[in-house]
């Protein structure tokens, strides 16, 4: 995958200080959303996808592994959380944990199967596994097939925060997103992250230095899948349903799109990409089926003219890493 990431990465040494400043600005901007009149549902939805894209980016941008089945973690966690909340009537915090646990177990299994494959074979196996899961969910009784799990109770987070109030829900989702984002940021800048980057840059060399690279890629896969599951659990509270849309392969494709538009292997790129794509779907909804065509065109333009993505180009221009 090095060919894919080579040109897109900023070449300057990572400056954590710059990134922390941008992070604080991003957090403040997002925290002020309820006072601006921007439709909070849209922002919440975008935040869930932003976290999903960040988790996906951890795998491709830093591990060099292109998963084409990341929707399976989103959808599985969604179903698990929804089931826990609605059927078992668990409180929200436990519902989220059940969802994360579901995605964690799934990532252990799928990671074990797929991680030894390279390049396109890895992508194809993740796609195949997610399709397999899609048909299981289509038939399984607890997912209610085409109908999905509807009318999920939002409840009180930690018995205090009433999630049926939009503003409260917004801040809970925002805190969840920021926590997930910071965790990913830490992973990237950890001793483990250093090895992961080394493997992305030159796997044979990493092996020759004595690293059993499959183990590192496996851990990256599990972390990425579990965090994608966290995004899926949060999304259940926003959408109040869990449906097949979230496990469909087109969702996996959308995550790839978001990450590429924002900037592969950049810290903030996936967030920007998610907002761009979700905003397009929201505000171009009037065009009906043409949204897909417009999205496709933007994708083509993006790949042809600014391959590094929005944030990647900005970072490259200022010779900073963002």
């Amino acid at each position: 995958m090095t060919a894919l990431t080579d040109d897109t990465l900023p070449v300057t040494p990572r400056a954590i200080r710059d990134e922390m400043i941008v992070f604080v600005v991003m957090a403040l901007l997002l925290a002020s959303v309820p006072f601006t009149g921007v439709y909070p549902f849209f922002v919440m939805q975008a935040l869930c996808f932003a976290l999903l894209a960040c988790a996906f980016n951890l795998l491709i941008g830093y591990g060099g592994l292109l998963s084409f089945g990341h929707a399976m973690f989103l959808g599985t966690a969604g179903y698990c959380s929804a089931h826990a909340l609605k059927v078992w009537a668990l409180p929200p915090e436990l519902g989220i944990l059940v969802g994360i646990a579901g995605a964690f177990v799934l990532s252990l299994i799928t990671g074990y199967i797929s991680i030894r494959r390279q390049g396109i074979y890895f992508s194809m196996i993740t796609l195949a596994l997610s399709q397999l899961l899609y048909f299981i969910y289509l038939q399984a009784p607890f997912t209610h097939g085409e109908d999905g799990i509807q009318g999920i109770p939002q409840g009180h987070m930690f018995g205090v925060f009433d999630l049926s109030k939009p503003t409260v829900l917004y801040y809970v989702v925002l805190v969840g997103f920021l926590a997930g984002f910071l965790l990913i940021f830490r992973i990237i800048n950890s001793p483990f992250g250093e090895v992961l980057k080394a493997i992305r840059e030159n796997e044979p060399r990493a092996i020759s230095l004595g690293y059993r690279t499959d183990q590192y890629k496996f851990l990256a896969f599990v972390l990425s899948g579990t965090l994608a599951g966290f995004a899926g659990s949060l999304k259940v509270f926003v959408a109040q349903n869990a449906s097949l849309t979230d496990v469909h392969w087109s969702m996996s494709g959308e995550v790839v799109l978001m990450t590429l538009v924002g900037g592969l292997g950049t810290v903030f790129g996936p967030v920007v990409g998610a907002f761009v794509i979700i905003a397009m779907q929201q505000y171009l909804a009037g065009f009906g089926q043409w949204v897909t065509v417009i999205q496709g065109s933007i994708f083509v333009i993006c790949v042809l003219t600014f391959r590094r993505g929005v944030i990647g180009e900005i970072a490259h221009y200022f010779r900073r890493s963002l």
Partner: protein, 251 residues
């Protein structure tokens, strides 16, 4: 004696669909020596090299490292035993700085490489050692330069520094001077000579003149088989070597 020879092969063979890239090679590398493996294009040097470092599986034969059979081991595990290789195309981590490149090698033995919840500032304890290693190969001013921006010769030096960071017992160098100008060749040759005081070195080289003064012993491969072995001065008198390898032009 296992003590005298650090690396030995017996009947080492690699067959690719009927074609023998390496055939029945018996190699003995003396501890503390600089051993060169040379041969014309297609002689099986790189295949042989990849067999020794476990990046290829032999079709037949045995590889002994420090008296232990490593034929069935994984490449990462061989590296952990102190048998570390370099690559023909310079193998650095391009978007990491020179110092970070060396640190990646240093951090492995530390055992914190799976810690994804800790800040990488814990790796700063390796900075001094990394600087030392960069100094040793004359790269101190490149410490904060991303490897991708370094000149080719410097990348090879960085690669050697990264390998030295593992404190290996034996280094396998795949054409360390390939694609270099004369100035860089002299630098790297001097560097190899210097580090050979501490390590055993087996190097694959295409160019006989490069290894002439550098190596203690030279093994000549042609068509996957050992043609001759000896010191440079002996080999230059060997008619078979002249014919097969040096060609009429050199005679």
């Amino acid at each position: 004696m296992a003590d005298e020879f650090i690396l030995e092969t017996e009947g080492l063979t690699k067959e690719f669909a009927g074609f023998f890239a390496v055939r029945d090679v018996a190699l003995k590398v003396r501890r503390g020596s600089i051993h060169a493996l040379i041969g014309p294009n297609g002689a099986g040097k790189t295949t042989c090299f990849n067999l020794l470092t476990k990046f290829l599986k032999p079709s037949a034969g045995k590889i002994l490292y420090k008296g232990q059979d490593i034929t069935a081991m994984a490449p990462a595990d061989v590296a952990r035993m102190g048998l570390v290789r370099s690559f023909q195309i310079s193998a650095v981590f391009p978007h990491l700085t020179a110092q970070e490149n060396v640190r990646v090698a240093l951090q492995r033995q530390h055992g914190s490489s799976f810690d994804f919840w800790r800040s990488k500032s814990v790796l700063n304890v390796f900075n001094d050692r990394a600087r030392e290693l960069l100094n040793d190969v004359g790269l101190s001013e490149f410490a904060n330069t991303p490897a991708v921006e370094m000149p080719y010769g410097r990348k090879r030096a960085l690669e050697i520094a990264t390998t030295l960071a593992l404190d290996p017992e034996m280094m396998l160098l795949d054409e360390p001077m390939a694609g270099m100008g004369h100035e860089d060749i002299d630098k790297i040759a001097a560097l190899i000579k210097r580090i050979s005081a501490k390590y055993t070195i087996l190097m694959v080289e295409h160019n006989l003149s490069v290894v002439a003064n550098l190596s203690d012993i030279i093994t000549v491969l042609t068509r996957g088989q050992v043609l001759a072995q000896g010191h440079y001065s002996e080999l230059t008198k060997d008619e078979r070597v002249k014919e097969a390898y040096l060609g009429a032009g050199h005679a």
